[in-house]
């Protein structure tokens, strides 16, 4: 424990501290600064500002109702159908009803320019699971256009940018009121205590806890873990989306990178090692164009039942469209496969389901408020908008819509909240916890443990789950946690990424526990959550969502009924869970 009076930390006072600089974080800054330019805003980015996280990596696009022939009600219905009616309907409605305004703002204020139709108006393309072609995009690099332009807005607005500074913990004053947060400057190895009237948590999810995973390095559930430690409620934590076509590239870090959804839309086949189009046995009608959850489960089943390739994958083949056509329509994807010695334009490429997006997260209201006054959560860290499964194209919509809302809320409430002084004991505890792996003189490096966690989650809490495997995961996580407490990292505190990995691992482990616990509790199959021991969707019992929070001794669990505040459950029988 660091003695309280010995703390050598930097101290910053600010009105609004925003943690994370993906779509949600930067939209939040844009809105807060535009609402009240006199506010002092501080931006924390675990990596490079505007270039960390996953909004940047968005290929597909942005679902939004623009065409008079489309309607908010239809987008809403698609979102609930996709989410298998587990969604918080107020959040889902907020998503679809704010999206047109936000796209308008991105185009006319932020400087984004999305692809146009021949007549010069915004082009909208088809995406899986939607009753109307409503996905706005910029080629297949939509994320770069949105994040590049948003990042450039920061040069106009000039918030205080703390680049390479990771947030550690929310801290409170003697009255238990939110006072701000602790952070670690990754570059210098120095700690920082930030007093803030409002803290916005927008760090992104933790799908990196799986052996095959799509997200960027930074995404280790820091926000969710931090909020959990602070006592906030988490919902739908069992709902982890697997994208069906992650690239398999051996030991390369490229493994898990997404080959885009559009390939299946354009007519790509999925084949097992026998050359069979196995989707005919899972969804004969929609075949490869079925939804992400169904296709992922089918591929996973093929692989697990021994019909996968030697390296544990299946094959995607679009070469029947002809080399020129594939090169013209999917230049980025062709380049990505050629980089590893395969060639999407000329033959099959090995793929596997890849952990992609976490639907679960912190319980929020449509203004991004939580049960802690002054603590807002936006984007993937929050749960409820997508229910049991997210539609492609609703992700970047979520981060920008709720980021903007968080900014509006923050600007509205900041002045009314005092700047409070955190309890120094909490600060010391947070810093001691972070310092521990660096100060331990002997012990293993964190890398092998990270690999074990990823294997464990993949095997026991992945695309298909059952009670035995989940119990094994729960027990194994206890063991991993004990070993994490012995991890030691060498080198100086400055720019020490082994140290950072140890801190990442602690957060990933916290989120992993929440996922496993929630998955054990939901004894049915719905959306992304599939239990082979309870393979049916059970609407009689399970139109409820699992809420977990930190209890005195383990988790406090609550099952809450879904509120059908805007839409009833359709009466038609649903074939797929």
């Amino acid at each position: 424990m660091v003695a309280r009076d010995m703390l050598d930390v930097d101290r910053i006072d600010t009105d609004i501290a925003v943690i994370g600089t993906g779509g949600a974080g930067l939209m939040c800054v844009l809105h807060a600064a535009s609402a009240d330019p006199t506010l002092d805003i501080t931006l924390l980015s675990k990596g490079a500002v505007g270039r960390s996280g996953c909004t940047r990596m968005v290929q597909g696009g942005y679902n939004v109702v623009l065409d008079p022939a489309d309607s908010l009600e239809l987008h809403f219905a698609d979102t609930l159908e996709g989410g298998k009616y587990l969604n918080n309907q107020e959040l889902a409605w907020t998503l679809v009803s704010d999206a047109p305004r936000v796209i308008h703002e991105l185009e006319t204020r932020v400087g984004c320019f999305f692809d146009r139709r021949e007549d010069g108006r915004i082009h909208q393309k088809a995406f899986a699971g939607q009753g109307f072609d409503r996905t706005v995009h910029r080629g297949d690099l939509t994320g770069i256009e949105i994040m590049g332009r948003l990042r450039d807005q920061m040069f106009r607005l000039g918030p205080r940018e703390l680049e390479d500074v990771r947030a550690l913990d929310l801290v409170f004053d003697d009255d238990g009121e939110l006072a701000g947060l602790t952070g670690l400057d990754v570059r210098t190895g120095r700690f920082v205590v930030i007093r803030a009237r409002v803290v916005v948590v927008a760090t992104g999810g933790a799908a990196t806890m799986y052996r095959i995973a799509a997200p960027a390095r930074e995404k280790t559930g820091d926000g969710i873990a931090m909020c959990y430690r602070a006592g906030l409620e988490m919902r739908d934590m069992e709902m982890m989306q697997f994208h069906p076509t992650g690239l398999l590239a051996g030991n390369s870090r490229l493994t898990g990178a997404v080959l885009e959804e559009g390939l299946r839309g354009a007519g790509a086949f999925l084949l097992n090692v026998d050359g069979e189009r196995y989707m005919s046995r899972y969804d004969a009608e929609r075949m490869e164009r079925s939804t992400r959850d169904v296709v992922s489960r089918a591929s996973y089943t093929e692989i697990m039942q021994g019909r996968g390739t030697a390296s544990g994958g299946v094959l995607i083949d679009i070469s029947h469209l002809g080399v020129e056509e594939v090169e013209r329509r999917f230049p980025g994807m062709v380049a990505r496969t050629r980089q590893i010695g395969a060639d999407l334009a000329r033959g099959p490429v090995e793929v596997s389901p890849t952990a992609h997006f976490h639907m679960g997260g912190v319980v929020i209201d449509p203004d991004c408020q939580t049960s802690i006054g002054g603590c807002l959560v936006a984007g993937e860290d929050a749960g409820g908008t997508h229910g049991a499964n997210r539609l492609g194209g609703n992700g970047v919509a979520e981060s920008t819509v709720f980021g903007a809302r968080a900014g509006d809320t923050a600007a509205r409430i900041a002045r009314a909240r005092q700047l409070r002084t955190p309890d120094e004991q909490q600060v010391a505890t947070s810093i001691s916890r972070a310092l521990a792996p660096l100060q331990r003189e002997r012990g293993p490096w964190p890398f092998a443990l990270t690999a074990e966690l990823k294997d464990l989650m993949w095997r026991c809490c992945g695309v298909v789950r059952d009670e035995t495997g989940l119990n094994e995961a729960r027990t194994a996580l206890d063991g991993l946690e004990q070993r994490l407490a012995e991890v030691s990292v060498p080198g100086p505190p400055r720019a020490n990424f082994a140290w950072q990995e140890a801190l990442d691992l602690e957060n990933q482990m916290t989120v992993a526990r929440l996922v496993v616990e929630s998955a054990l509790l939901r004894k049915e199959s719905r959306g992304a959550h599939f239990r082979s021991d309870f393979p049916e969707r059970n609407d009689d019992e399970w139109l409820r969502y699992v809420v977990l929070r930190r209890g005195r001794d383990g988790f406090d669990v609550e099952m809450r009924p879904v509120e059908f505040s805007r839409s009833e459950l359709p009466t038609k029988v649903v074939a797929n869970p």
């Binding site: 990596g47 490079a48 270039r51 960390s52 996280g53 996953c54 940047r56 990596m57 796209i103 308008h104 185009e107 006319t108 204020r109 932020v110 400087g111 320019f113 692809d115 146009r116 139709r117 021949e118 007549d119 010069g120 108006r121 910029r138 080629g139 690099l141 994320g143 770069i144 256009e145 590049g148 332009r149 990042r151 450039d152 807005q153 040069f155 106009r156 570059r187 960027a216 390095r217 930074e218 590239a249 051996g250 030991n251 390369s252 870090r253 490229l254 990178a257 980089q339 590893i340 010695g341 490096w445 890398f447 990292v489 060498p490 080198g491 100086p492 400055r494 720019a495 990424f497 082994a498």
Partner: protein, 229 residues
């Protein structure tokens, strides 16, 4: 399986340190660094995020040439590779640099759209319009700084705006939605701007997104002389 000898720039103290890494397939330069970190020296400093050439943070020099570590396969014609930080930016540690000077130059050209008064609805612009023909191939800059590192002027003279910032300025000046073209034309004028370029095309030859910053600079010079479109 062959063994690769990887010489990595280490900053404390300043030296080259050589590691032996087993060749794998497929293997990117980023995978080399991860292998070194995981099996040899956990403290080796390098950066990456997305590993699919979208974040632009893993830029470094491999045998002198500036590349993105994540999208550069380990060469098959040699077993000896040298890795250095990008040129022209202060080293934080090992292969990690402080990109602040790059972004300061970028900020100088007012890199954000200044919407003109008529822009109340998404602009109606045909995809085959002259303006989009200029802009579209010059978008998708990921701010990786490869052009800056490979530019003999930018990496030696701190006052030159550099290829990426000038490319961004060109994109905005060509955009009919923007109202600040005159200010930007002024910002890119002179020896610290377009006149600083000596057309060595280092920028264009290394851009991992296939952009042509040198071409953008030519356009800006031509617009200065003949008026912008």
């Amino acid at each position: 399986m062959t063994t690769l000898r990887i010489s990595v720039h280490r900053s404390e103290p300043d030296r080259l340190e050589t590691f032996e890494v087993e060749r794998d397939d497929p293997m990117m330069v980023l995978d080399l660094l991860l292998a070194i970190q995981r099996t040899h020296d956990a403290s080796v400093g390098f950066r990456f995020s997305c590993r699919v050439a979208m974040c632009g943070t893993c830029t470094l020099r491999m045998d002198g040439r500036t590349v993105l570590a994540c999208q550069t396969p380990v060469p098959t014609d040699t077993d000896e590779i040298r890795l250095d930080p990008v040129a022209g930016l202060p080293v934080v540690r090992d292969l990690i640099v402080d990109t602040a000077p790059f972004w300061q130059e970028w900020a100088t050209v007012m890199p954000y759209l200044v919407p003109n008064e008529e822009l109340t609805e998404p602009a109606v612009v045909r995809p085959d319009s002259p303006e989009r023909q200029i802009i579209d191939p010059a978008l998708d800059c990921i701010g990786c700084g490869a052009c800056y590192s490979s530019c003999g002027i930018a990496n030696s003279r701190r006052d030159f705006l550099g290829p990426a910032a000038l490319n961004r300025a060109m994109v905005l000046i060509a955009d009919s939605r923007d109202a600040a073209a005159d200010e930007r034309m002024a910002a890119i004028d002179g020896a610290m701007g377009v006149d600083g370029c000596h057309y060595m095309y280092g920028c264009t030859s290394v851009c991992p997104k296939g952009l042509d910053p040198a071409g953008a600079i030519r356009k800006l010079r031509s617009w200065r002389l003949h008026g912008r479109p």
